[in-house]
Symmetry: C2
């Protein structure tokens, strides 16, 4: 039999990675087509396809019909952050989770909010703010606007023992939306809730959630100082 044979898509991927790392296939250069590789590797074309497709997803390869496959010259790193329910996040760290409702009201949102949610500014929304605790210390502060038109049942929920976070996940799961990460100076009120100095730098996660085009909720979560979001590349 010819040199080596690769029978699993993972092993094919490994071999492709080796050639890229060793610069046998240089950055920006084209690599053989699937059929040729399949023959060389002694496997079916679909196996090669699986391996290459996976590498293309991670940004290492660029593939185009007819043009073929080439090694990305300047691969765009893709960092995947897992955003879990905060309770799970805390428990995963081995800390005790706690929850405290701070405010619940029905009122007209700031224009910036109604604008971002693409809703009529005169319509009232449900506002909920709450504090998440880890080992009884402040962990994250969340301010949330909920669109009652999208989730009428929310008006009947007090959010005193369950976070809006989890409640929404249970009642309107599998939504789409946008998320943004930034750094902000903690406003005075927030700072006192989080137990840090005013204008302390904290990580902010802003999230807008839609269910079939209509905005369901918009939330800003401010984490305790020094909080990090980490992942592997």
């Amino acid at each position: 039999m010819k040199p080596t044979s690769f029978q699993t898509w993972q092993s094919v991927q490994g071999e492709v990675l080796r050639r890229i790392h060793s610069r046998e296939w240089a950055p920006g250069a084209a690599i053989p087509n699937e059929a040729d590789l399949a023959q060389e590797f002694g496997c079916a074309r679909s196996t090669v396809n699986r391996a290459l497709q996976s590498l293309a997803d991670s940004g290492l390869l660029e593939r185009r019909r007819k043009a073929g496959t080439r090694v990305s010259a300047q691969p765009v790193t893709k960092a995947t952050l897992e955003i879990a329910v905060i309770r799970h996040e805390v428990e995963a760290k081995g800390e005790k989770y706690g929850y405290r409702l701070i405010e619940r009201s029905i009122c007209r949102p700031p224009i910036a909010t109604s604008g971002a949610m693409q809703l009529d500014p005169s319509k009232k929304l449900l506002f909920v703010s709450a504090l998440h605790l880890a080992n009884d210390a402040p962990y994250a502060f969340e301010e949330r606007w909920i669109n009652p038109a999208a989730v009428p049942a929310a008006l009947d929920e007090a959010f005193e023992s369950i976070s809006a976070n989890e409640w929404l996940l249970e009642h309107v799961p599998y939504t789409s939306g946008e998320i943004a990460f930034s750094a902000v100076a903690a406003p005075q009120e927030t700072a006192s809730i989080l137990g840090c100095a005013q204008d302390c730098a904290v990580l902010a996660v802003d999230r807008l959630t839609r269910d079939a085009q209509v905005s369901v909720t918009k939330v800003r979560v401010l984490f305790r100082p020094n909080h990090q979001l980490r992942t592997n590349l």
Copy 2:
């Protein structure tokens, strides 16, 4: 022919999503196995497999051999951030990119740095700090430690006209590593470089890069105030 037939994995996925959204398949509940679905949908099992696997990757389904497939009760949202070379990031916004080297030296790193890089603290490393500009205004400040043992060629590069960012990508591409996002108060020196107030809240991206187990570089990038990292969900 039976009701509808689904011939592409995307259409199968669409139908599965519909059933999940409509709660026909409730959160936490098991769904039929691949063979049954294939028969119902009038397609091959591998087509169903492709569709379900993709949904499992995105966290909507949980699959285990023998146990079958079930709808995730509390799906973990996965936000994928694309971390491009800063020059590209700036240019993609339609702004003019600029680069200014601030410091380049060879010295012993702080213990925290050598520790994180798992290197001998007494060994000297190459330190490079630089400012990235957008439309001539500060965009991001980067402080970087480079391990010459891993990239000897770096010692011959001045980094005066090319950022270490891009230089490294060209010379040791396709590395692995870790990345972390946090909020920090800009130290006095950094603040003056970025042109913001001292202790201003800025987004920090810390990145450790390895090439086959050995640390290549560790970098902290501080973005201008109000910078956001965004993505869709």
